[in-house]
């Protein structure tokens, strides 16, 4: 399994990288490489040029600023995993990071790569949908912000243009009485999800749901935002009835297909089950219990 030949560039600045992409329509960005390099080894991807963005300065950080938690695109999954800030206040993100691939992959794999690759089986996309995150894209005309809901167009296709680089992801800053959880069924460590569900809740002072976010992994061509389920929960108290209804709505919006991981029916069942579990856990965390 030997990749085809390619030209390699390793720019030092984002502007330089953007310019290289602009000049080379067959170029691809190399971030953590843990999706791209295996595909190149199978010659399923044969880019003429790689623009290695691992040496770009200032793209690896996790910080709260204004209304956002901002994460640099080149932040390694293992850095997220070790971040006290993430563990303390962003339980959904912490849950997700912990189950991406395996510990060694997480040492190189990046948050930006996981999202920009737009593999519906990747874990961060659903989580970012549940959070209502925003993607920062840097191109020849500077930065622009893309709501995550507008980002995933199709399998492996995003709204980034060829000469844009995903440079950061912004998650709404954690507020009081908020919490989330990610539930994933994988066949073994390192596997893609059979099904996974991300849920994020913000509660009002009276315990009712101020806002709910639900994202689904690997049950369609793109990660799916379960909008109807989110809306059905808003303003309600999380109880057996509202959970059941949200789980049903989430499972309806899923578009799973039968494969080695299970039947369509089974996957819809998992969406219901994990939506219920993730919501319960999110509620528990929003109320200050559990981690």
């Amino acid at each position: 399994m030997i990749p085809a030949s390619f030209d390699y560039t390793c720019p030092k600045t984002v502007a330089e990288a953007v310019s290289l992409l602009g000049q080379n329509p067959e170029a691809k960005i190399l971030a953590g490489g843990h999706s791209l390099i295996p595909m190149m080894r199978f010659r399923m991807a044969t880019p003429a040029m790689l623009v290695d963005i691992n040496q770009l300065e200032g793209l690896s950080y996790i910080k709260e600023e204004g209304d956002w938690l901002e994460i640099g695109a080149m932040t390694r999954e293992s850095e997220l995993d070790r971040s006290e800030l993430v563990r303390k206040s962003y339980s959904l993100l912490a849950d997700t990071t912990r189950v991406i691939a395996d510990p060694l992959v997480r040492n190189l794999a990046t948050v930006g790569g996981n999202i920009a690759h737009a593999d519906p089986a990747n874990d961060h996309p659903a989580t970012m949908l549940a959070y209502g995150a925003e993607v920062t894209a840097t191109g020849p005309d500077g930065e622009r912000s893309i709501p995550i809901g507008d980002f995933f167009l199709d399998a492996f296709t995003t709204s980034l243009s060829h000469d844009e680089i995903l440079t950061a992801i912004r998650i709404p800053r954690a507020v009081e009485k908020s919490g989330g959880a990610y539930f994933k069924l994988e066949r073994k460590v390192g596997d893609y999800a059979t099904v996974a569900v991300a849920a994020q809740l913000v509660l009002n002072g009276d315990g009712k749901i101020a806002s709910a976010g639900i994202g689904l992994t690997n049950v369609g061509l793109t990660p799916i935002k379960a909008t109807a389920a989110e809306e059905a929960l808003t303003g309600k108290v999380l109880d057996d009835a509202s959970i059941k209804e949200a789980a049903r709505l989430a499972s309806e919006v899923a578009e799973p297909i039968e494969d080695q991981r299970g039947s369509e029916e089974y996957k819809r069942h998992l969406v219901r089950t994990f939506t219920s579990r993730a919501l319960r856990k999110a509620q528990e965390r929003a109320e200050g219990g559990g981690v």
């Binding site: 460590v189 893609y192 059979t194 991981r261 299970g262 089974y266 579990r277």
Partner: protein, 107 residues
Amino acid sequence: MGMAPALLEEISYDENGNMHGGTLMDYLVPTAMETPAWETGETVTPSPHHPIGAKGVGESATVGAPPAIVNAVVDAMWHLGVRHMEIPMTPSRVWQVLKEKGAALEE
């Protein structure tokens, strides 16, 4: 130790002879996380035909474990009318059986 064929490993083909599971991403070999802890014991009955009484035991775990694991799963569901489970007993297969027997729970 024999759990892999019982629970994970399978090579299958579609009707055109295309293989499912031709990489280690889909041919599932258990890691330390999937593998349970186990206890071993032994009794000794030396072979009378052998200068040091030795017998081969290289495959002890792998031969006996798959039916033991199937027997456990079927034992758990016998009262529901389940007589047999094919291997590998993946989560989706077990769920399918429970569903057919009206025992799959919804949360």
